[in-house]
Symmetry: C2
Subunit: 166 residues, 2 copies
């Protein structure tokens, strides 16, 4: 079965739209999805621009954003000025782990609010304390969850190898 470019484009756009709806900036989301489905070796800026139908400048901005998140990287091609952009294999893992620190800093600022409330028995204090506890709990459990995923993934890969390379 060959690449169904038309459906692929549509699915890329739709997935990017989901990310956008979740608060992710538009262009980075589109670039990210394009890189996700790209073949081995990633894509150049101009390939991205052509594929997404946008200017080179837009790609440059999107790429800078994604790089600042540490989920893509540049692969300088020896003997060519054309650099290829590639998504890290653990991009999503990293992104989710990173969001974890958002939970953490949110809990931290909320904890300051908790201090400022004073009376620990008040409704506001109880509510706030419970929220802080909740996010700290999630934050604490996430590493375990991710580790479990890693283990499961490694196991799958081992099985696949065991079956003589699929």
């Amino acid at each position: 079965m060959a690449r169904d470019e038309q459906n692929l484009r549509a699915a890329v756009e739709q997935s990017a739209a989901v990310l956008t709806a979740a608060g992710f900036p538009r262009m980075p989301a589109r670039v990210l999805m394009a890189l996700l489905v790209a073949d081995e070796g990633g894509l150049t800026a101009s390939e991205l621009a052509e594929s997404l139908g946008v200017s080179a400048a837009a790609i440059s901005g999107g790429v800078r954003y994604l790089r600042s998140l540490g989920i893509i990287h540049r692969m300088p091609q020896p003997g060519s000025r054309r650099e290829r952009w590639e998504i890290f294999d653990d991009a999503w893992y990293t992104a989710l782990a990173g969001k974890n620190s958002v939970y953490g800093s949110f809990a931290d600022t909320a904890a300051q609010a908790l201090d400022a409330i004073g009376d620990p028995a008040s409704a506001g204090a109880r509510r706030t304390r419970e929220m802080v506890d909740f996010f700290r709990y999630i934050e604490g459990k996430m590493p375990e969850l991710l580790a479990d995923w890693e283990a499961l993934r490694a196991e799958r890969l081992a099985n696949r190898d065991g079956r003589a390379g699929d």
Copy 2:
């Protein structure tokens, strides 16, 4: 210790800023934090407006958004037109569970991309498949994580009661 209004305001704004940085719209974030730290009985729209220093219209919009997310509710006061808005106790729990469905729909659209790629052995297919698997895994584990939190919370409350109401 009494309420330190000044620090409380600052902490509320800062927490709202963290939410905003994470993609949450600004005014809803501010309203949400104000309601979180509010005393028993929640706040009226005008109290929110005064506390946040914005117009009644802005509050109305923010409140509508939060209600659409199902994390606050209106408490009609008998004998008064002033309705009080209150945050649900399980607001954050709900929000996180809801985000879970975002993971799900993201995985779904990405799975469509996977189909469109065709060749399952290609780099793009491998990458995409792994991402889909990852989010499905997270999505699957989250209920368990939340249930564990519930259990822990119930246990804490029981202990507190056991110690004769703190």
